[in-house]
Symmetry: C2
Subunit: 319 residues, 2 copies
Amino acid sequence: MATQISQSTLKEKSQLLTPLNTQNLLDSVDAFLFDCDGVIWKGDSLIDGVSDTLDFLRSMGKKLVFVTNNSTKSRRQYAKKFHSVGISVSEDEIFSSSFAAAMYLKVNKFPKEKKVSLLEENVSLSSKLHTLNEEAMAAKPQVYVIGEEGILEELELAGFTPLGGPVGAVVVGLDQYINFYKLQYGTLCIRENPGCLFIATNRDAVGNLTDLQEWPGAGCMVGAICGTTQKDPIVVGKPSTFLMDFLLEKFNIPTSKMCMVGDRLDTDILFGQNSGCRTLLVFSGVTKESDLQDPSNQIHPEYMTTTLSDILHLANNKF
Amino acid sequence: MATQISQSTLKEKSQLLTPLNTQNLLDSVDAFLFDCDGVIWKGDSLIDGVSDTLDFLRSMGKKLVFVTNNSTKSRRQYAKKFHSVGISVSEDEIFSSSFAAAMYLKVNKFPKEKKVSLLEENVSLSSKLHTLNEEAMAAKPQVYVIGEEGILEELELAGFTPLGGPVGAVVVGLDQYINFYKLQYGTLCIRENPGCLFIATNRDAVGNLTDLQEWPGAGCMVGAICGTTQKDPIVVGKPSTFLMDFLLEKFNIPTSKMCMVGDRLDTDILFGQNSGCRTLLVFSGVTKESDLQDPSNQIHPEYMTTTLSDILHLANNKF
């Protein structure tokens, strides 16, 4: 319930969501951008009232967009997860940091791997070997991934394959199977290959990988590689606004007519602010009211409330 | 050979070791402090000429001290490694970051665990359980280690055991067996236990874990925990001067009469400079001449040479 948030938070710049400003927000915004973990679900458990709230927003003609830093899934896998919890979302509405990593390479014209075929007919072995050798010499740089399936699937969809020449880019995301040898290989690639890109899907410290427990986020793996390479990564997920270009291309709505809803100050809310969106913080994820009030915190959303479905209840004036 | 180093490095503040300044250094210094990995050995291979050089320095009456950031071994295990490569070094001459971690807890009066005994005679079960409960209530905070045997052995020698109440300190060092669950537990302890200490044995980016190959150093594991907790650790190994107090207690020599010999600028040389020692950089480990010359480098040793045995040859004017 929104009313559980103490008035002291109001001394900061953020406004508690009320029936009046909820109505104003709904009137002035054409698209809602949602973080997923901590806003839509925790682990695999849908947060109460989310489904009805999304239906309500759709019924008002609002565009819904899902912008997630969780790189373990591709957009296709995300759409499947939405479907499995009973929410209908299309792949086009999903912008994940795994997609961002693939798009970063594409936009920056990172060479795509040519496939080496061994199946040509009527070619002598020596000319086959010659061709093979030429192909190997011309091998395009490969992408090494410290992360899970989501990144690999998005890279493949964008035409990048983990075959070929020296590693030209290391993409680091959340990896539950992290180990010393993965860290070693990623470190070597970045240190030993001149110009090798170090791309981080995101730097979230922790996340609700399971519904009852926070677990290390991609910030863990990225921090490890920063520690070994003493280099800073190119961050493509939130709070980087890199994904916003793709979002604007898909939806013809100015960012001033968008509202970013998230549970993290340093990723979701900062992304919204950096992009020129309205912002709403929910306390259903990793941020506690005390984090917002902490004197060291410099990031203050425009609005805050306990959970997403407050929008529905406040719009219907049920409090 | 010292003469392989180009003159361009000389434009920086460091002097190439020569017969003349080697003699001056030997005349003005009473103790040599050595880093081990990259100076004495690489992995398990002794670097050429080290044994003769140490013998030479001992024959001149110099005190020899080994100050290492490698936390995987205790002082006892280090003495054993020295012995295995044919160098006689006593435990008293070894100051490791594993020892530093234990001493940090001791100096800061971190409570030692009381042992719970179940073997008292003539005590009823209920009073046994009562005693147990009281002991549990009074349980002293435990230390959680992300690291290897060296840290555990030094903690035990200092009287700390990994039993008892809530974790009050997390010690992070080099851990080749790092995994997601260790990182999760360390993160939880630091985030969820108010006042829990986050102690790093060191933050070395890489090291010569094997003689042919650099591997991630403790900076990898420490970076991972920084990424999840968004906190900075208390560093007890080099470049922190924490170990110097223990060294001064053992050897009654002013730091101006000590020379720190190391292969890393940001740990060894900085430690020497922070402690007021003379400094000598050797290029037999992780630092290349180009690293020293890099405009981003702010750390310049007083002297530099290719390898430790240059001291012996230069003193004997064999170049």
